[in-house]
Symmetry: C2
Subunit: 347 residues, 2 copies
DNA sequence: CTGTTAGCGCGTTCAC
DNA sequence: GTGAACGCGCTAACAG
C-alpha cells in the first residue's frame, strides 16, 4: 500500500501542492474548476490527508477538546451529545478524549494541547482538586463542567471556569426533604474518599441537614461502597450489608442514582418494600431514575443547561467577551415513588 | 507561554537533539548519566513531546486503535476495560476513538491509519455491512467485535476477522424458550432497519423460531422503536403504544435489555403485572438486566470472552501466527423473573 | 488565481 | 556514546 501524499495528488493533477492544499481546506481563492478536478482525483485515489502533518503546521485550527473522566459512566452521555451539536454549530472541530480513572486529566490535556491546536478545553467530571501549577500551564481557556469551584486551594478562581450545581446545597435539600417527611434514621451510601470531591460535598450537605434538624450523625449509618459510585453491583452489595448489619433505618440516601438502583434490588431481594418499609433516594436524575421500579426520588442535575452554558461560556472566553466565571445551576428535587412519609409505627 | 521543544531541551542540557530523543524513547545506547540529566531538565521545564511530530517521523509505534460506535451505549464499557488491560499488558499503546452514529467507522479508521502508525484496528459495534473496497484499503489487520461475519457481500471473509455471538441463533433460542413456556402471541420490539445488521439477525431468529413451531408471524406484534435501541424511553413509548393498541399478547421480546427495562416501566404504569400478566425478555445481558425489578430473562453475551479473544486474535494476526478467522461464542440464556409459564386462561 | 519554498517538531540515519 | 543533517506531509507565506 503505497502511502499516497499531497505531492502525488499535485502531480497527477498537474498543479502545485499548495493548490491541492487550498482545495482540501476550502480556501476561497481557487478556481472552482481546478478545485473540482482535484477533488475528483482525491476521491479516485482515496487520498486522505495526514492529520499529524496538518497539526504540525497549522497555525490555528478551530478546535475544542473535551476530556471525559470515566468511560463507564453513562452520566455524561447526554452532555456529550449536546456539546457535540453546539460545537459543530459554531463550526469548530471537537476532540473527544476519555480519561481513565487512574490518569490525571490535566496531564492528558497538557499533552493534547501540544499535539493539536486547541482553542479551549472542557473537562467533564473528574477529581475536584488539581495542582495549581499544572492548570496554569494550560495556555487556552479551561472550563470544568459538573465540578464546583473549589478545584484548587492555590488558585484564585480566575484561571478557569466552572459550571455545575451546588452539590452541597442540593444534597442538603434532598436530605431535608427526607427529614421533612419524618425520617430521622437516614442511612447514607457514599464513597470513601479523603480528597475533596463532589462526593465529599454531598456528604457535607447530608450532615449539615441532619445537624440543622438536631439529628445526631450516626457513623453506623454511613456506608462506603468499594471504590466506584457508578455501578449497581456496589449499590447492591452495600445495601445488603446494611440490611444484614441489623442497623435500624427508615431511609437510605445514595450519592448516585446508579447506587440507589442497586439498593432497590437488594431491598427487593431482602423482602423489604420500598417505600413501604424503607424510603430510597438517589442523586443525579439520570434516565434510569425515571424507569426503575419504583421511580427514584432524586436530585436532577440540569445537564442540558450545564452543557449549553459550558459551551457558551468557553466560546465567550475564547472570543474575549468575558473572563473566567463560576456558574451554579439549581438542581431539581424530583419526587418519585421511592420515598414516602413515615408513620410513627416504623422500625 | 513559549512552546518548548526538543531543541530547547537539548540546548539547556548542552547536548544534541538526537541525544534528547534517545533519552525520551528509552534507547539503549545512551549514557545513563546523560539520560538522567536530560530527564531531569525535562521534568523541570514540563516539556511534553509533540505527538504530531512524533507520528510523522516514527517508523512504527506499537499501537492499536479501538473504534467504538455509539457513545451513549453502556454496552461496550465492560469490553473497553478488558481491552485496555490486555493491550497494556502487551506493551502496546491504545487509541480509543468514539464514532458517532452518523459517521462511517471504516472512514474514520482510514483517517486514523494515516495519522498514527497503527498495527491493528478493532471495531466495537457499528453497522454490520461495509463497502468492501474501503475495508480493503485498511492496510493493517482488522477485527470486528460483537459483529458477525456477514460484513460485506463482496468480501470473502479473509480480509478481516470477527468475534461475536451468533445473533440469529441466540435470538432463536430465547424465542423458543418463550414458546416452550406456552407463549404463542409473542410481541417483538426492534428497530426499523433495512440494512443488514445485528438487529436484523435477531429478527430472523425470532421469526424462524415462530415458524419452526408453526406460529404465524403477526405483523401487528412487531413493533418498531424510533431509531435507537439503547434508550429506555424508546422502550417505554413503544411498549405503551403496544398496550394502547389493544393487541393481545402474552410475551414481549425486546432486542435489547435497555428497551426491555423501558417496557417493564410501561407495564407497571399500565397496571400490567410482569410476569403475572405479561412476560418480558431482553437481549444482551447487561448489568442492568440483573438489577431491575423484576430481573430480566435475557441472552447474556460473553463480553469478557469476546474482548479477550479479540485481543488475542488481533495480536496473533499481527505476529503472523494466524490468518483472519471468524469466531463465534455461544450466548447464555439467563433465566430471570420476567418470564413465566403461561396458564391456559390467559388473555 | 497559482506555483515555489520554508519550516512545524521530531526520529532517524550516518558520520564521528 | 553522541551530534549534525535530512526529511516525514503538510500549510502558510510569498512571489508571480
Amino acid at each position: 500500500m503505497a502511502e499516497i501524499t499531497i505531492v502525488e495528488i499535485a502531480k497527477r493533477c498537474g498543479v502545485g501542492v499548495s493548490t491541492v492544499s487550498r482545495a482540501i481546506n476550502n480556501h476561497s481563492d481557487i478556481n472552482p474548476e481546478t478545485k473540482k478536478r482535484i477533488m475528483e482525483v482525491i476521491r479516485e485515489t482515496g487520498y486522505i490527508p495526514n492529520n499529524s502533518a496538518r497539526n504540525l503546521k497549522r497555525i490555528d485550527a478551530k478546535c475544542l477538546a473535551v476530556l471525559v473522566k470515566g468511560i463507564t459512566n453513562p452520566f455524561f452521555a447526554p452532555m456529550i451529545e449536546v456539546v457535540e451539536q453546539e460545537v459543530e454549530k459554531r463550526g469548530y472541530a471537537l476532540v473527544l478524549r476519555h480519561v481513565e480513572a487512574y490518569e490525571d486529566e490535566v496531564e492528558v490535556a497538557l499533552e493534547l494541547e501540544k499535539e493539536k491546536r486547541l482553542r479551549g478545553i472542557i473537562f467533564l467530571g473528574g477529581s475536584a482538586r488539581h495542582a495549581a501549577d499544572k492548570i496554569k500551564q494550560l495556555s487556552v481557556p479551561v472550563v470544568f463542567a459538573t465540578i464546583g469551584s473549589d478545584i484548587s486551594d492555590d488558585l484564585t478562581g480566575n484561571e478557569y471556569s466552572t459550571v455545575s450545581v451546588d452539590d452541597e446545597r442540593e444534597s442538603f435539600k434532598i436530605t431535608e426533604h427526607l427529614i421533612s417527611l419524618g425520617h430521622k434514621r437516614i442511612a447514607f451510601m457514599t464513597e470513601a474518599n479523603d480528597t475533596p470531591s463532589i462526593v465529599q460535598l454531598r456528604r457535607k450537605g447530608y450532615e449539615s441537614a441532619l445537624a440543622k434538624h438536631g439529628i445526631d450523625i450516626d457513623r453506623n449509618l454511613i456506608r462506603y461502597v468499594d471504590q466506584r459510585i457508578y455501578t449497581m453491583a456496589n449499590g447492591y452489595d452495600t445495601a445488603k450489608a446494611l440490611v444484614d448489619s441489623g442497623e435500624k433505618f427508615t431511609a437510605l440516601y445514595c450519592v448516585s442514582d446508579v447506587l440507589a438502583v442497586g439498593a432497590l434490588r437488594a431491598f427487593a431481594d431482602a423482602g423489604i418494600s420500598v417505600p413501604g418499609d424503607v424510603s430510597v433516594a438517589g442523586f443525579d436524575g439520570q434516565e434510569l431514575s425515571r424507569f426503575c421500579v419504583p421511580r427514584l426520588t432524586t436530585i436532577r442535575q440540569p445537564l442540558q443547561q450545564i452543557s449549553r452554558e459550558t459551551i457558551r461560556l468557553i466560546f465567550d472566553i475564547i472570543d474575549k467577551k468575558c473572563g473566567h466565571t463560576h456558574i451554579t445551576f439549581p438542581g431539581e428535587l424530583v419526587i418519585g415513588e421511592s420515598v414516602r412519609k413515615i408513620d410513627d409505627s416504623s422500625l
